[in-house]
């Protein structure tokens, strides 16, 4: 767990999302599916984000501006500074024989970095609108559906080793079709390192901290 003030190198619009680029400094990119806590200027709490891309000396986060905190992150400009803590939590197990990426909406965020690690990995992405689907450009070669079509409609009967990230209903649907899947969940989170007990999810019948037990969990 390393924390540092990183210099923002720029932002890019990706459909309705924003790709926030920062100098990596001492922060390691970690394992795909791990996450980082980004501290929006003027806010009390940081926000958890997975790493979207790791370029030479640069970390990139894909952000959906859904509230004041994420809006503040998307409003950063080159030269600003951003406190980043991470990498945190448990990422995807990359040693699976037949990986298939399944993402929904902003759940595409960790996949470009994951695809860097897995090389030539097939992917299925679903989005709520054609505008959101522009984010599929971050993952060349992915098959894309737009609602009302759902990603599960493209899942093969034997989906192999699914690595999924997306909204909860999508993850639940994937879980029922692919019991071996690795699912990347999200939860409101104050700290990201086990201090606040805010991000609990029910696992094995008990409320457990997603930041410590996950965010990537086995479907079954």
């Amino acid at each position: 767990m390393t924390g540092a003030e990183l210099r923002v190198t720029g932002t890019e619009a990706v459909g309705p999302y924003t790709l926030l680029r920062v100098e990596a400094g001492p922060i390691e990119p970690g394992i795909p599916g791990q996450f980082f806590m980004l501290r929006p200027p003027g806010h009390v709490l940081p926000r958890p984000m997975s790493l979207c891309l790791s370029r030479a000396g640069e970390l990139c986060f894909l952000i959906d501006a859904i509230g004041p905190g994420t809006q503040a992150l998307c409003g950063l400009t080159a030269g600003d500074h951003l406190h980043v803590l991470g990498p945190l939590g448990n990422g995807f197990d990359l040693t699976v024989p037949r990986p298939l990426l399944v993402g929904g909406g902003i759940g595409v965020a960790p996949f470009p970095y994951l695809a860097q690690a897995l090389r030539d990995v097939p992917a299925i992405l679903g989005f709520s609108t054609a505008a959101h689907a522009e984010a599929a450009a971050l993952l060349p070669g992915a098959r894309v559906v737009v609602e009302p079509a759902l990603v599960t409609s493209l899942l093969p009967a034997d989906p192999g080793d699914v690595l999924a990230c997306g909204p909860e209903p999508m993850l639940e649907a994937v879980r029922s079709l692919a019991p071996r899947a690795q699912l990347a969940w999200e939860a409101p989170m104050a700290c990201g390192y086990g201090a606040c007990f805010g991000c609990v999810v029910e696992l094995d019948g008990h409320l457990q901290r997603l930041c410590i037990a996950g965010p990537v969990l086995r479907a079954a």
Partner: protein, 281 residues
């Protein structure tokens, strides 16, 4: 002599972040209850304009889990340990104090008399303190709520009942709504409000209690910088705890300590403790 820096109970898990806990002068556990508790259903946290709300609901392993697993693990890290004690009746608190009385690995018992997220014991704070006092010789610190008309009166009552010190302040009950649905953001509806908004409240409470009673005070509430800590010392705290700031900045203990020394020096104090009480006249 400097000002010891602790964590506020429930704002750090030394077992998942030992490097953070080792920067503190002592580690305060999450509040322990007689039985294990799952805590409250999510959503448990929400940020507000000037702070945050939490409704964790005392999730924890219960006293047996603390004795068997948590305390040995904390001792193995070499931490000085304060245990935060909770319950739903005076006997709950007193029973836990008795179990911890002979544990050499526990320095202080902090009585959480003011959790805003669970039902309160029917007894008064002073009655609970008196019940605990009769069952342990360990130092007892009473953690009080700022949501009271006259906290100095509460302070006098718990000190008369045998409290050796005060921890000031706990969070205050608050609420936040989802602007789209106009429904509470937190699963249980309300939560404990903490962070920068609580700091002026903490200053007023510590000041009032420091004037009312002559016992050590652990000050906490919205401390994010060394100057924040020095201000709590100036109203009478001899120890300062970090709460919400730890969530955003796990490096806060060392940073605040360094800033505290520098802020004291800049004001002509040989050390931060020399500033204790200067605001109280």
């Amino acid at each position: 002599m400097t000002v010891p820096i602790l964590n506020a109970s429930g704002c750090l898990d030394a077992l998942t972040a030992p490097e953070v806990a080792l920067e503190l002068d002592a580690f305060v556990t999450k509040t322990i209850t007689p039985q294990p508790r799952e805590g409250n259903p999510p959503v448990r946290i929400a940020e507000t304009e000037s702070g945050m709300l939490n409704s964790i609901g005392l999730q924890g392993p219960g006293i047996e889990g603390l004795l068997a697993q948590t305390l040995p693990a904390l001792a193995a890290l070499g931490l000085r340990v304060w245990v935060s004690v909770g319950g739903f009746s005076s006997e709950d608190y007193a029973g836990i104090c008795e179990r911890l009385d002979e544990r050499d690995d526990v320095e202080v018992l902090e009585l959480n008399l003011s959790c805003p997220n669970v039902e309160e014991a029917p007894e008064t704070a002073a009655q609970i303190v008196a019940g605990c006092r009769s069952r342990t010789s360990k130092p007892l610190y009473a953690k009080l709520s700022p949501a009271t008309w006259d906290i100095a009166e509460s302070a006098r009552a718990v000190v008369a009942a045998g409290a050796d010190g005060l921890s000031l302040v706990n969070t205050m009950r608050g609420m936040a709504l989802d602007p789209a649905t106009l429904r509470p953001k937190l699963g249980p509806g309300t939560g404990g409000y903490s962070g920068p908004a609580l700091r002026p409240v903490a200053l007023a409470c510590v000041s009032a209690c420091a004037r009312a009673v002559d016992v050590p005070i652990v000050g906490m509430g919205g401390v994010a910088s060394g100057l924040d800590a020095l201000e709590l010392v100036a109203v009478g705290a001899g120890v300062v705890s970090l709460g919400t700031v730890l969530f955003a900045d796990p490096a806060a203990p060392a940073r605040v300590r360094k800033e505290l020394d520098a802020e004291a020096t800049a004001r002509g104090f040989a050390n931060p403790l020399q500033a204790r009480g200067v605001a109280n006249g």
